[in-house]
Symmetry: C2
């Protein structure tokens, strides 16, 4: 059966996350409902990153199979007409048989935005965590650096029984620009709440609440009780997926 | 009486513009109501730019007088506590007696954002006019350049009987960045819908609907019927005010 890749962006503010949940407004729910309307049948879909409630995406990828070849550009236009401005399909393209948005992905890259400015910014408030105070960026950079490489990130994940939390982080750094801090992190995959827990630890270290060397201890012990702050979802955006 | 200057930003999406209107949610209405709550009396306020419904502000300025000296930083915090995330006060500062946010202002600078990308961007959809097609940026730049200097902008303004529409434009240019176009314009003052009408004309010229030399004719004749497109308000932000 022909396989298709769907590239999409969304403002997660008004959704209960990506994954379908009964009675809740979710990205998957809206997207599959639109696909069913246009295609006449509901294809099984696979997604690169199951984002949480309030988390956004710029470069999310979904894949699905259909019975017969379809016109990708036409499908993208039809879906955009149904979905409205909170979800935008940038492309629907034919891909090799067996392509899975989830299992074929080699890496995911996320962005997290923090504002240190005393006053909040109304125009970016749904995409930026406004902490409104100075932070020790050097200390935060050290925490980010210690996350690089392959580790068991159990302390940073809402665990699922029996699943490994070993992940390989390929990029993790803070890009400071005046009163704005941008965190970039790329890994082969992420476990649940891993980015937000890492940002939360960086924040706690940056404000002097936890020592800068704590991350190595936390990674070694896997002690989730030491990760007290989980950064709010609205600062997080799934930026791109590598295949 | 001591005079104060209040610097504020807002997301205009949920408001019927700056100016107070009975029964409508407006920036002035929300701000004055918060001032009255904190100060116990409602001071008369003056504003640098009366933005339309849906228009945003990054560097709006409001002034008011009070009976006795107040703690500006404390007032800013109190107002922010009342106003919520759509309006943010960045500072309240004592200024010279007689200062008026409106009449003391020497210039206003606005930003207008356009996206040429085929797909809309959900995360910026309330601040960007998504035209979704290529435009002739060179032609648009020429229109912007022709607006520079002192002209009677009657063709670009919703006129008020008996008032002059002569304005002095000190900066007007398009900054292209891939699929994003940013329009910057600064003038001593603007008449009603002037920026959005100029952007609308640039758009019509950029898509080849109107000739590039039309702006000089339009300015000379003052013929508003030739300005057919008024760009939507949500792409516009009052960026800063010069004193």
């Amino acid at each position: 059966m022909p396989s298709y890749r769907l590239d999409l962006a969304y403002d997660g503010s008004g959704f209960r996350g990506y994954a379908r949940q009964n009675g809740q407004r979710t990205i998957q729910g809206e997207l599959e409902s639109a696909l069913e309307t246009v295609l006449g049948t509901l294809p099984a879909t696979s997604v690169a990153g199951r984002t949480d409630a309030g988390v956004h995406a710029r470069g999310q990828v979904v894949s699905f199979e259909v019975q017969e070849d379809i016109d990708g550009a036409h499908l993208a236009r039809s879906l955009n007409g149904i979905l409205g401005p909170e979800i935008a399909i940038s492309a629907v393209t034919r891909v090799d048989d067996g392509f899975s948005a989830r299992f074929s992905a080699r890496s995911r890259r996320y962005r997290y935005l923090i504002s240190l400015a005393p006053a909040g910014d109304p125009l970016t408030r749904n995409q930026v965590w406004h902490v409104g105070r100075p932070l020790d960026i050097g200390a935060m950079q050290s925490v980010a650096g210690a996350a690089l490489g392959e580790h068991d990130f159990s302390a940073f994940c809402r665990s699922v029984e029996g699943r490994s939390n070993v992940r390989r982080v390929e990029e993790a750094w803070w890009d400071p620009d005046g009163e704005w801090l941008t965190f970039w992190i790329r890994a082969n995959a992420f476990c649940h709440q891993m980015v937000r827990s890492l940002v939360g630890l960086c924040y706690d270290v940056g404000r002097g609440f936890i020592g800068v060397d704590s991350i190595t201890v936390i990674i070694e012990t896997g002690d989730r009780s030491r990760v007290v702050t989980v950064a709010p979802p609205h600062g997080l955006t799934l930026w791109e997926v590598g295949y």
